[in-house]
């Protein structure tokens, strides 16, 4: 389960609409507890993919992630997951997403169009890497 505030969910949706028709991406910073992840902040990242592939691929370069992690440590947080958008596609992880993920992290996907964010789901990879499982989002 992942707990995330209304403010952070809105930030994700707005980032998705802003970057449409490209994919947006960012980090979810917060804390791991025994049962779940809690998101305190979103950390938007510029899509590092070359222009032609931005529409359906996103990439957070390790340098950017390291910067995000350093920022998180300074604020006593950890990277608990990532978010990205699927322009004009369902908020369901693709095979490509599966091959580029680790368990435990939360992967929030938001389906976007030109002027609205539609479905938003969170996914967690099965520990054997075989698939993604839907993860419950709790919004206090």
């Amino acid at each position: 389960m992942i707990t995330i505030g209304k403010k952070q969910l809105t930030e994700i949706r707005e980032h998705g609409i802003r970057d449409y028709p490209y994919e947006c991406c960012g980090l979810l910073l917060g804390r791991y507890t025994a049962e779940q992840k809690i998101v305190n902040e979103t950390y938007p990242i510029s899509n590092a993919r070359e222009e032609s592939a931005k529409r359906n691929r996103f990439l957070i370069a390790p340098g950017e992630l390291l910067r995000g992690e350093r920022y998180a440590r300074e604020h006593d947080l950890e990277v608990v997951g990532f978010y990205h958008s699927h322009p004009d596609s369902p908020a369901v992880p693709s095979q490509y997403d599966l091959e580029h993920a680790w368990p435990t992290y939360s992967y929030i996907i938001v389906s976007t169009s030109a002027n609205e964010a539609r479905d938003l789901f969170s996914w967690e990879q099965e520990p054997d890497r075989s698939r993604f499982n839907p993860e419950e989002i709790q919004c206090p």
């Binding site: 390790p62 990277v79 580029h100 054997d128 698939r131």
Partner: protein, 484 residues
């Protein structure tokens, strides 16, 4: 030498909950091997099935990516720190799918597809995608033959075929999915048997019907990709519009004489057929293959290109023939390519589409039976048997054959004069206006055009079209005249 490996938070559960692990190693690669031999559950998250670091996993030695040093062979020294950092990548693909939904391959299938599997562009994942995919082929003729055979061989899991024709002798010069033993059989049955023989691991669904505005949407719904192997304009526009409306890729190919075209029309990603050709040509302007002929190997080449693009779509490849029209000319052996652009004013895929459901495509293409020939020209016709009767009676008539000389070589009606359609007006003075003139071609279309052209040119004799052309003559009067 003792060095420290920092484990990223999500992977700690696979390393006994530790955030740091100390190992003694000489190189970065050795350090990771030691780490993952102690904590074996960690390995699959860092390395792929080929034992290479997963492409999104980056290993930093102190502050440097080992890829920029000597990779796994980068030497490490006492007190160094290794960090494992993912570069996060992902994104939507054509068919968003959760990994689990892909079917497994049997041992037999793995053996069969081994030449695919050893290429990373296909691999197990790609082959399973092929198995999960479904393709609908419109027509099992010249183009459909190689398309069907290669898709079946490649292991596309479900192939639908639509056709209503029977196999005829004149098909076999190019439609290599059918054989001599299949003459007179329904094409879908003959094609199904051939595809089953090529690959018994796939499903083949036959639809014996003409594709129409009434059944197209229903049929397309059950398939991922549509491959157009039709030979006429009404069906080509129908396939295009139904693909746009159902958001499916249309893998297009067409052939004529020595020239072929291929493209991928996918309105979601680029131009559709109507962006390229908003309107069909006037009926009769572009002859069909039956009239103009086709080099037998040409559909083999163009159909193989269609199969190639279909497989690439399934595999999620880039550089598809989207917004690209490939032209091929077999005689000088040349490929050319044109850029296509999506037309914002396109009536079906543009910004304000006027076509939102399927229309009457026979009417749209002007080939409704009552419109051929045009209603205003009074075309006088005669049947083959009537013509024979007039000849036997000894009527004074002349017969003009407007086909091409090489067709005249194949078969002719005795006592006719050959004036090919292209010369009929310039050689008008060779036709006696005081005698009834019967004009014929292969099937009756070109002769009707010849009559119109002659009338327009001022010929004032009586012109009569032979209904059904030399084919009708062969069927109804003289079977010794060969059909072709």
């Amino acid at each position: 030498m003792p060095i420290t490996i920092t484990i990223p938070a999500p992977l700690r559960q696979f390393a006994g909950g530790q955030s740091q692990v100390a190992v003694e190693a000489k190189t970065a690669g050795e350090a990771l091997d030691l780490l993952t031999s102690t904590h074996s559950a960690l390995r699959r998250h860092l390395f792929n099935d080929q034992n290479a670091l997963r492409n999104f996993v980056n290993v930093y030695l102190n502050d440097e990516d080992i890829r920029h040093a000597s990779g796994p062979d980068t030497p490490v020294k006492d007190g160094d720190t290794i960090m494992i950092v993912p570069s996060i990548a992902g994104g939507a693909v054509v068919e968003s799918e959760v990994g689990e939904t892909l079917p497994e391959l049997s041992h037999e299938e793995i053996l069969r597809y081994s030449r695919h599997l050893i290429m990373p562009e296909v691999g197990m994942q790609g082959q399973r995608r092929l198995k999960a995919a479904s393709v609908l082929m419109i027509g099992t003729g010249g183009l459909g033959a190689p398309v069907g055979m290669y898709l079946a061989a490649a292991g596309v899991g479900r192939i639908g075929i639509v056709d209503f024709d029977v196999v005829e002798e004149s098909n076999l010069q190019r439609q290599i999915i059918h054989g001599t033993k299949d003459l007179g059989r329904r094409k879908i049955e003959s094609a199904r048997d051939r595809l089953r023989d090529i690959n018994p691991h796939i499903e083949i669904e036959t639809h014996e019907s003409r594709l129409t505005s009434h059944n197209a949407m229903q049929l397309f719904r059950n398939y991922d990709i549509i491959v157009d192997g039709t030979d006429n304009f009404p069906t080509r526009y129908l396939v295009n519009d139904a693909c746009v409306l159902s958001k499916k890729p249309n893998v297009y190919g067409s052939i004529f004489r020595f020239e072929g075209q291929a493209s991928v029309f996918w309105a979601e990603k680029g131009a559709c057929y109507r962006c390229l050709y908003p309107e069909p040509p006037p009926p009769g302007l572009v002859p069909s293959c039956a009239e103009g002929g086709v080099l037998g190997v040409l559909p083999g080449i163009v159909g193989a290109i269609q199969a190639n693009e279909t497989i690439k779509i399934i595999l999620g490849a880039e550089d598809l023939l989207i917004n690209r029209l490939l032209l091929f000319d077999a005689w000088p052996m040349k490929f050319r390519e044109f850029k296509l652009r999506k037309d914002p004013k396109c009536p079906v895929c543009g910004e304000n589409p006027t076509i939102t459901k399927l229309i009457d495509y026979e009417e749209f293409c002007g080939v409704a039976p009552h419109q051929l020939p045009p209603a205003d020209s009074k075309l006088e016709e005669i049947s083959a048997t009537e013509l024979n009767a007039r000849r036997l009676r000894g009527d004074k008539i002349q017969i003009v054959d407007v086909r091409e000389p090489h067709e005249f070589e194949i078969a002719r009606i005795p006592g006719t004069k050959l004036i090919p359609l292209g010369h009929v007006v310039t050689r008008m003075n060779e036709i006696d206006p005081d005698v009834d003139t019967i004009v014929h071609c292969k099937g009756g279309v070109r002769s009707a055009k010849a009559i119109e052209a002659l009338k327009r040119a001022g010929f004032n004799g009586r012109l009569i079209n032979l209904k059904g052309g030399i084919i009708a003559w062969s069927e109804d009067v003289d079977p010794r005249v060969a059909k072709y």
